[in-house]
């Protein structure tokens, strides 16, 4: 197996929650004071306090847990997963920005990572100076950048602005320049985190094209995190799904995307089987105005979310909220309901003609605002709005957003 580019073994990463305990403050101060007097050799003690695995498990969260996978040379691999699944942590460890808590990664060849565009750009310096600075930060030698300068400038399409300070650039130009530098790095492995979300459609296409060329044409390995299933399926042959810090699936992109979409929700009703005593949500259904349970609605149809809740001990300030999200899990809006009334059946109607055709998720939460979550469903329910051939179908392929315009033309 000589063609493995990256091998990840038992990789775990823990983060400490909350404030860092007082025990370490006094320890650190002691060490600092001792050092100030030049009295002792505190090397060993530093080793201890930095060792995360010795801390109690209760306030530690595992952002990644026991991840194992191999990536072959020349593969373009996508990484998908919900927010907080550990994608960014994995990329951070791979790019050596932070260290793992346990485990090991071995690899072959230089890594270039693009976790953010334009890292280290200095606003006062010109585009050209920034190309050199950014290139050097990414690990290029000056000669290498010199050699590729023309290509970079060409790719970014900005010869005219080369001597202008980048603080006068538009954000799109900024991104273009930054991506151009990173894309021309002579690295064997390229790591890209969702940077394509910025920049215009044309440039996104160009980036994807470049990454395609990088992986297929030049045989370099690409790791690509995105929420955009379209770009993932265009670029990557295989894809990893991360879920709550564990590797859920590794295989062909098509299957992975299918699996992922399935996992994030295709449920239109929820019925809690285990009945507990506390305050909790017992049942949620989506229905139309005639109480027909369904999860596909037409544009001019009311969407009714009917929830059954049970109450345990009386909780002050208890609220029930429904968060409506898009397929990228961005919250679109939230409706709150005060549960003071102790109603057991709650009905939220999302009025017709408000949500544009597409897929939506709902996340129901019972909570005391800013204090605690009393109950939440750990997966989302989903529903579709179908186009009825109205006004919107004219623009069938353009992104019109999610909410029907509340504006009024006079």
């Amino acid at each position: 197996m000589s063609d493995i580019a990256i091998k990840v073994e038992n990789l775990s990463k823990a983060y400490q929650l909350g404030q860092i305990g007082t025990g370490t403050i006094s320890r650190d101060l002691e060490r600092w004071y001792a050092n100030l007097r030049g009295k002792e050799d505190p090397f060993l003690r530093i080793g201890e306090s930095n060792d995360r695995s010795t801390k109690g498990t209760s306030n530690v969260i595992w952002s990644l847990k026991d991840i194992n996978f191999e990536i072959e040379q020349g593969d373009a691999v996508g990484i998908i997963g919900r927010n907080g699944a550990g994608k960014s942590t994995l990329l951070k460890i791979l790019s050596k920005v932070t260290g793992p808590t346990n485990g090991k990664i071995s690899g072959k060849g230089r890594i270039a990572s693009l976790l953010e565009v334009g890292t280290g750009f200095h606003p006062e310096l010109s585009g050209k100076e920034n190309i050199f600075l950014n290139g050097a930060i990414l690990g290029m030698r000056k000669k290498e950048i010199q050699r590729k300068l023309e290509e970079i400038v060409d790719f970014a399409g900005m010869e005219r602005y080369l001597d202008t300070p980048v603080k006068r650039y538009s954000s799109g130009m900024y991104v273009r320049l930054a991506f151009a530098v990173a894309a021309h790095l002579e690295s064997e492995i390229l790591i890209v985190d969702e940077v394509l979300a910025v920049g215009d459609a044309e440039f996104q296409k160009k980036c994807l094209g470049k990454m395609n060329q990088v992986s297929k044409g030049e045989g370099r390995t690409v790791l690509f995190v995105s929420h955009n299933m379209g770009s993932i399926s265009q670029l990557c042959q295989s894809t990893l799904i991360l879920n709550n810090g564990t590797l859920e699936y590794k295989g062909s992109t098509r299957k992975a995307i299918e699996k992922y979409l399935e996992s994030i929700a295709t449920v239109s009703s929820f019925n809690r089987e285990k009945q507990t005593d506390g305050t909790h949500i017992t049942k949620i259904i989506l229905a139309d105005d005639f109480n027909n349970q369904k999860n596909t609605f037409v544009f001019d149809e009311n969407i009714n979310i009917i929830t059954q809740v049970d109450y345990g001990v009386q909780i002050q300030e208890l609220f029930f909220s429904i968060i409506v999200r898009d397929t990228n899990e961005n919250a679109l809006f939230t409706s709150h309901y005060n549960l003071e009334s102790q109603n057991t059946t709650l009905k939220l109607t999302i009025p017709k003609n408000n949500l544009l055709p597409g897929k939506y998720f709902i996340e129901p939460v019972m909570h005391v605002p800013n204090v605690e979550f009393v109950d939440r469903i750990d997966f989302f329910l989903s529903f579709y709005i179908e186009d009825t051939g109205g006004e919107h179908s004219k623009y069938n392929n353009s992104n019109l957003g999610f909410i029907n315009s509340p504006g009024i033309w006079l």
Binding site: G103, I111, L133, A136, I137
Partner: protein, 285 residues
């Protein structure tokens, strides 16, 4: 596992304390120069006086010191012209203090870059030291001009052989500032308290260093407490600097060797602890 030797890098949870990655630092040397250039260029962009600003601070400090400590308080300057005496101390002290304070906040100042891309972190403090060297160089010119003026008009001093130690003195100041700064920077990633101490701590330390008074004066007036000043590694460095250029000051090989030793120890300790913290500081800063 049998093909382990084929991989040319590994990332592991624990690394050796003494794996200081100097070869990596060397590979990134171009970045060092580009950062120095960036600091220099961005300093005088959109200013009228540009690098002349480097002159203003030591010049005014010298004038103030001459009035307050020299004339008002009447502290002896070993028979040297007062402005020249203070200028020597301030120029050397500023370089050390700048290296120290800038290095001590390196993690916080660069958290945004460090959090997004990897390069040997040591490059940053090194670039600070080199950037400040440019500033120090400019201020040395001012000092030399002043020296020339006094030499040909008042001529109260003799340049001594110890001027040959000047490069060593500069390196010692740089490394002492770097080492101490790195130690502080590593300790302030978790707790910021120390960072607030650095600001006025450096100022206080100046009074425990022979910047505004000669060591001989301190020994004469406070023989019981002068050890604080003598044990301060910056004291022999500044004394040597002054002795070399102006021919006055207490120079002896013992205290110079002591300062060198302390500097090297702090540097080694600083580099090790800096490397230790660098790996995971992103999570705590």
């Amino acid at each position: 596992m049998e093909h382990q030797e084929e991989y040319n890098w590994t990332i592991e949870a624990k690394t050796s304390l003494f794996d200081l990655k100097f070869s990596e630092v060397w590979a990134y040397r171009d970045l060092l120069w580009l950062l120095v250039r960036r600091d220099f260029v961005s300093f005088y962009k959109q200013t009228i006086l540009g690098p002349l600003w480097f002159f203003i601070q030591p010049l005014f400090t010298t004038i103030i010191f001459t009035f307050i400590f020299g004339n008002l308080a009447g502290i002896s300057t070993d028979g040297l012209p007062k402005p020249l005496f203070y200028m020597a101390g301030i120029t050397a002290w500023n370089y050390f203090a700048d290296c120290l304070t800038k290095t001590s906040t390196v993690f916080r100042d660069n958290a945004a870059i460090f959090g997004k891309v990897y390069f040997p972190r040591l490059i940053m403090p090194l670039s600070i030291v080199v950037s400040n060297l440019v500033r120090f160089g400019v201020q040395m010119i001012l000092f030399l001009i002043m020296m020339g003026y006094y030499y040909f008009t008042v001529a109260h001093f003799n340049i001594s052989w110890a001027i040959a130690l000047f490069p060593v003195v500069v390196i010692l100041m740089a490394l002492l500032g770097l080492g101490t700064g790195m130690i502080i920077s590593a300790m302030t990633t978790k707790y910021r308290d120390l960072a607030y101490l650095v600001g006025f701590g450096v100022q206080l330390l100046m009074y425990a260093t022979t910047v505004i008074y000669p060591l001989s004066e301190a020994l004469k007036k406070y023989p019981a407490y002068a050890w604080i000043i003598e044990y301060n590694p910056m004291t022999p460095i500044i004394e040597t600097f002054r002795y070399g250029f102006l021919g006055e000051g207490s120079f002896n090989w013992g205290s110079f060797g002591y300062a060198t030793l302390v500097t090297l120890l702090l540097l080694i300790f600083g580099t090790v602890i800096f490397n230790k913290v660098e790996r995971n500081f992103v999570d705590t800063v």
